[in-house]
Amino acid sequence: MSIAGTETIGRARAAVRLGLATRDATLPVWAGVALLLVFLMVLPLASLVSTSLVDETGITLRKYVEVFTNAAFLKAIWNTIVVSFWVGIIAVAAGGSMAWLVTRTDLPLKRCVRALVMASFVTPPFLGAFAWTLLAGPNAGALNKLYRALTGSDGFLFNIFTLEGLIFVMALYSFPYVFSMIANVCELISSDLEDAAVILGASKVRTACTITLPLALPALLGGFIVAFLHSLSLFGAPAILGLPAGIHTITTQIWTFFQYPPRLDLAAAFSVPLLLATMALIALQKKILGRRGFSTVGGKGGQRRLVRLGWARVPAFLLVGGVLSLSIFLPYWILLKAAFSKAWAVPLDWDNFTLNNFKFVLFQYTDTQRAIFNTFKLGVLTATAGTLLATLVAYITNRNILRGARFLSFFALAPLVIPGIVLAVALFIVYTRPPIVLYGTVWILFVAYLTKEMPIGFSQAESTFKSIHPELEDASRIIGANRLTSLKDVTAPLARSGLIAAWCFIFIGVIRELSASILLFSPASKVVSVVIFDLKEEGLVGAISVLGIFLLLVSFAVILAVHWAAGRDLAGGRE
């Protein structure tokens, strides 16, 4: 190495030392972001905790005792744990293997598979649950009728109004989360290590198990936790499938606390231990993953080659197709049929054909147009603001810019465990009183969605940053860029696909949000999910079907537009 080169390195090192020693000019931005996040999370959380602890007599644990000695409430907790555990397992198994098949093998029709996974992701779980009541209700369900017609039996194949039915449906709409996490990771892992294994004589299976799987393990674990927590906080699906059979989960139980006279204190006492449990889960995840570095993307991209499935190509494809039929084809087929039927349970012939459902939803029922407008307005607003905030926060925690930055990740992830309905009440308490009155407008929903979607945006952004080594930014900072500039010019472009994904995740999360909306909406700020739930409680099957199909079509159009505008199709790979 020449003397000049050594000198350059020496100067650069000095600059780094200097940079660390002097104050970072962008510090106020980071501090501001951190404060905003803390404000967003702490306000409702604090009111939640205080509501659970304080009554007229002062601080008391009475509410906790009342909640945790009641057999019915304990049963609801147990149901929730069982359901969420199995949802997590099934979602990781289905989502993980599908992600691997799509990204690393020569599975046929991959773009199509990706698009359909996206479709199941877009489908609100409560809509899926509703469709499955039409498919697998024990007596009138289409699949059970088919089963009876084929076998001549008078029983049923599958009763969706059970704990198993609930797990099944919730897993169908949780696996896309895992899929997307694993797919991202699989796309980032270069084939170098796999090649090395193959050169040393390992079989395909062995390579997959010893190289690909361990590399994907953090994402798998993360996927399990996300699916677990996602299912924990779902309200619509358990309300639609569990309640008819007398099965309560934590969210539906909390929902009943809000009946008049409301017991917000019990609801809060019910939620706080949940919060603690999730903190523990996330801490555990950190501990497991924290010891290893997972920088798999350097400045130079490695090559990725596809595994040839050979004879397994067809069975693998059938498996993937099977999962997608359960989450997409069957539900939307029955919704489509119901949308055009006078009576959904009767075969669709000319006598049963009607366009009245469309007429009713689009022209007669006045809530719909306003609700559709509100929903998409909130979707775009929240996704944009949320992606920006999540990116900045993930950057802070990942590059450890502020002291105590790792606590920020707790704040960003905490909403995951607050069931939307509890968050809604906390926000209700906070934002219906001066100094900040948001109730009665769409802005309280905006705050709720921003808070609620922060974890998904954050974990998406974080896992993206985690796989981008800071060396590239360091280089940029050495030549004089500040942190914000290097984030904008170097890291963000590398992370672009991850951040676009974050935008879509948040957008979809918003348009299918139900559990917080159901308490926070007002006549002027009704959203589509609330309208669907209203219709569901009254059993207006045709109208729900019309709205559900409409929701799918429009969200898909939005996502395609975003990806087209971003110059890259989500359905495509990174090529």
């Binding site: 007596n139 008819p244 059979a245 007398g246 309560h248 009943t256 008049y260």
Partner: protein, 339 residues
Amino acid sequence: MMRLVAALAAVWCLGGVSVAFAQDAALVQAAKKEGKVVWYTSLAIPSSTAIAHAFRTKYPGVDVEVHRTGSQRVLQRVMQEAGAGIKNADIIHTSDAGHFVLLKEKGMLLKYTPRGVEPFPSGFKDKDGYYFGMRATLSVIAHNPKVVPEKDAPKTWKDLLNSKWKGRMVSAHPGYSGIIMTHVLALVNLYGWDYFRDLAKNSLHLVQSANDPAGVVASGERPIGVNGAEYFYYKTLKQGNPIKIVYPAEGVPLVVSPVAVAKDAPHPNAAKLFMEFIFARESQQLLADREGLYTGHPAVTYPPDKPKLKDLKLLNADPDELEKRNAEIKKRFTQFFGA
């Protein structure tokens, strides 16, 4: 002399009419200035949508914002908003008469007596003039005649306890529906809580709204409804669905659904106009003809295929008792049925 009296009477009548006319015109004008009326209602979505449409047609320039959910949810929302100091609802309408006892007691209702309610039966009127029964329905048994032949079908409330119906029945929920709240109270008064304890042994399918069982029965998902709004069963039947309504001889719960103006109504004139509209004979007749409801209006006629209320043994609910036992009913029902 007689002619003079007649002439005077005619003048007096005309005068009265024109005074009423002027009042109406002033009210319509004031309502138009307010622009809309916000209606919190538990009336089925298709029915409340139809009423709102009729109102808009009659009074162009005054919009109706329909906010429909179950009775108990309407109350929950009204109370939540009151607690937060939010004034949003103009008209409150649920099927749980107990709610109006509570709201009146809390001073949350505006005393307003629409014209034409004097001849209504006493069960349709608050003695202090705060709320009036806008419509009434029955809670009945229904079955799907394609699945359960009529000769086997349950005819009485007690028939429903037979274990041969296990897993084949649907019930709506008193924690959501005011109709079912009224229904449960009536049957508890008739048979005691043992009735519901025994009924729960038949593994019922639980839905929320009193309107939902109609669809569940029609589709055959559960061929027997152990309760539910008669008007909605009737409407579903009229749409060509396989439904047979049974009016048990032991007595049928009569559910009168009151309506009132909120004390803090942000659009008080539009609200009053809406009250006038809803109790006008033509609107009441519309409820009977199009929505299959009963009303308190003595001049209203009913479709010939609906039973006359006087031919049925009715179980009337006392609003005060409904109010007092609301929490108990929700609690016991949930204990027996699990959710």
